[in-house]
Amino acid sequence: MTNEFAIAVDQSTLEWKLPSSRKVAVLCLILTETCIFSIFVAAYLFYVGKSLSGPTPREVLELPILSTICLLSSSVTILLAERAFNRDRVGTFKLWWLATMVLAAFFLVSTAREWYRLIYQHGLTISTNLFGTTFYSLVGLHATHVVIGLILLTLVFIFSLRGYVTIMHRERLEMLSWYWHFVDAVWVVVFTVVYVIGR
């Protein structure tokens, strides 16, 4: 009774394929995150050189070359992990996955050391001047995303150690790696804006 209107047409003639919901949703999430970062980047660029007091970026910022290399190479390791996973090599998968986590953790430790140095040696806090405000907000927003990514990576690692991660979860892992690539790509922009243009 409820569906007397269900419409029947010759089904065989229709080729019907739709994109994956997860992929569309994660792309949308990345889109909206990009917009948040754009506003913070815009604020950073708008205030470059407008601080009324020191310290200035040129005086205190050092290029974080090593941590940048680590973060960018974690994009490669997660790719290798995914590839191993798709070829059903669980041991290799875990190894590359762990490598990704170690690289991410190293990045966070370097950021923490950089902030420690800025705060205790140079007296630059978020309220010191416009540079401090925009620097800690932008880099901090990115670091927050790294932390979230690291938590997710760790969860997957724990699950995989207990054998819960199966081929069923292939697309979920892929989505996590998309997010991770996005976080890395954002770092390229942040690095350029903060350490190259802003210095």
């Binding site: 409820t2 604020a43 925009t134």
Partner: protein, 557 residues
């Protein structure tokens, strides 16, 4: 048709205790229940924020009135504006999208049902947090009450130095919460519409409603982050001593305005496009013609979405931008009128030569067409920089945007209520009460907002809590306030109608309007699984094909 009577959703099924029904609402992930919960909650907030508007109008009805003091008045207009935009407009569009998109594309639920429920609860608790500020904001220090910095909370007035206590923090945090809800709901609607369509429903066969929902939700994803980011910066300023908007340390108050309006102006289009969506479904059905210029409608909607993101600084002509900036934003603002005009002509083209049925949804749509056009015209007037210099922050502006949001959006939403209520509850809304609602609300609307333009032209600024006699504003303000009462009477008719028809309305049947889109192919109200067998479509009007096998649409595609 006997089974129609018992085909009622679990929430209203007789025999369940109140606790069971409430529990059902709390744990539900059904897109139809969540959609109705969104709309129901939004209507509650509409009544609350509407009462605030009545209080404002009572205060302004007479010169030198001291019924409401300046502090309370500031809170009233702030809470009225914030609630109407974030707790009424946004959730109604989320509710309509939730309820209708899966039905229209012939699927059984949203792409992410649990995320959908999460979005609703974030919105609800955000809204409650905003109103809790009346109690919570004074805190230990005793400063502050509800937010009083206006719905755009201009820095530096919203900074710690000028906004003591926690009122602005409540404004920031509650809106951040609702923004999370809105964002996940937007992601969900887009993912559903793009990946869950039934067999044969190509993008260009989707109902225009779904197209417009996609566009409006994409806009949410693109511009809502600007508000969230700006609010996070303001929070950093207020709590960590940041300098973003602190002009003493070189910060810029104008930057806040840019960030806010990068969100704030597209927001108007985010709100009005779902109105367009309702109108685009209703006008064809009651003209007995397919929509005129479907592909052009899709293109025009996308263009509106695109252009509206480059017009924000027309809210800031008086802050001293360069003449190049002013010119750019004046021209881009006028440019939006082009795709909007195309849409109005398409709706008129649909009406032209049609066999028009003056049912309630159609009456609201016709009023929408006329009023939205007028609202657009005053918008173009305000886009002219010298004109704006004269009238910015005056009652002319207030009249303009209320014309857009009430005369345009709210009339379209009401049309949608009368059109889809039979689908959601299985019963028709009462026509006589509906006519009372329509005429009272339309007359009240014109009394209030046609009149409101003139005190603006005569120099009455917005947001003043009282004014002196003898400036020639008295009569106009009295008429404006009286119109508010008439509108309230109209809304009362709607509320009575909505509640009364749940039990006493005429039974609707599956397809009371002889319509063409898929939601009318299932029972009213639809079963939890929507469609017993997933439908297959071959044209834009699947039900027309079904009812007219001798002359189906797909023959002409």
């Amino acid at each position: 048709m006997a089974t129609q009577e018992i085909a009622i959703t679990a929430a209203t099924r007789p025999g369940l205790s109140l606790i069971d029904r409430l529990h059902g609402l709390v744990v539900t992930v059904d897109h139809k229940k969540l959609g109705l919960m969104y709309i129901g909650t939004a209507l509650l907030f509409l009544v609350v924020a509407g009462c605030m508007a009545l209080a404002i109008r009572t205060q302004l009805a007479l010169p030198n009135n001291d019924l409401i003091g300046p502090e309370v008045f500031n809170r009233l207009f702030t809470m009225h504006g914030t609630a109407m935009v974030f707790l009424v407009g946004m959730p109604i569009l989320a509710g309509l999208g939730n309820y209708l998109v899966p039905l229209m594309i012939g699927t059984r639920d949203m792409a992410f049902p649990r995320l959908n429920a999460f979005g609703y609860w974030m919105f609800l608790f955000g809204g409650l947090l905003l109103y809790f500020s009346y109690l919570g904001a004074p805190g230990l220090s005793g400063h502050g009450s509800a937010p009083d910095v206006g719905w755009f909370a201009y820095a530096p007035l919203s900074g710690k130095a000028f906004s003591r206590g926690h009122s602005t923090d409540y404004w920031i945090l509650s809106l951040l919460l609702t923004s999370v809800g809105t964002t996940v709901s937007a992601i969900n609607v887009i993912a559903t519409a793009l990946t869950m369509r039934c067999r044969g429903m190509t993008l260009m066969r989707m109902p225009l409603f779904v197209w417009m929902m996609i566009v409006t939700n994409f806009m949410i994803l693109l511009v809502l982050p600007a508000l969230s980011a700006a609010q996070i910066m303001l929070l950093i300023d207020r709590y960590l001593g940041g300098r973003f908007f602190d002009s003493q340390a070189g910060g810029s108050a104008v930057l806040w305005q840019h960030f806010f309006w990068i969100f704030g102006h597209p927001e108007v289009y985010i709100l009005i496009i779902p109105g367009f969506a309702c109108v685009s479904e209703i006008i064809p059905v009651f003209s007995r013609k397919p929509i005129f210029g479907y592909p052009v409608m899709v293109a025009a909607t996308s263009m509106i979405g695109l252009i509206s993101m480059g017009v924000w600084a027309h809210h800031m002509f008086t802050v001293g931008m360069t003449s190049i900036g002013n010119t750019f934003f004046a021209i881009s603002t006028m440019l939006v009128a082009v795709p909007t005009g195309i849409k109005i002509f398409n709706w008129l083209g649909t009406l032209y030569g049609g066999k028009i049925r003056f049912e309630l949804p159609m009456l609201f749509c016709l009023a929408f067409l006329f009023q939205f056009l007028t609202a657009g015209l005053t918008g173009i007037m305000l886009a002219v920089v010298p004109f704006d210099w004269q009238l910015t922050d005056s009652y002319f502006v207030v009249a303009h945007f209320h014309y857009v949001l009430i005369g345009g959006l709210l009339f379209a939403i009401f049309a949608g209520f009368y059109y889809w209520y039979p689908k959601a509850f299985g019963r028709m809304l009462n026509r006589k009460l509906g006519l009372w609602h329509f005429w009272l609300f339309a007359i009240g609307f014109h009394l209030t907002f046609d009149t409101m333009h003139f005190p603006g032209l005569l120099g009455m600024p917005r947001r003043i809590y009282t004014y002196d006699a003898g400036r020639g504003w008295e009569t106009l303000n009295l008429i404006t306030s009286f119109g508010g009462l008439v509108q309230a009477a109209g809304i009362l008719c709607l509320v009575v109608n909505l509640l009364r028809s749940l039990k006493k309305g005429e039974l609707a049947g599956n397809d009371p309007w002889d319509a063409w889109t898929l939601e009318w192919a299932t029972s009213s109200p639809p079963p939890e699984y929507n469609f017993g067998t997933t439908p297959v479509v071959r044209s834009r009007r699947p039900l027309w094909d079904l009812k007219h096998p001798e002359d189906p649409d797909w023959k002409y595609d």
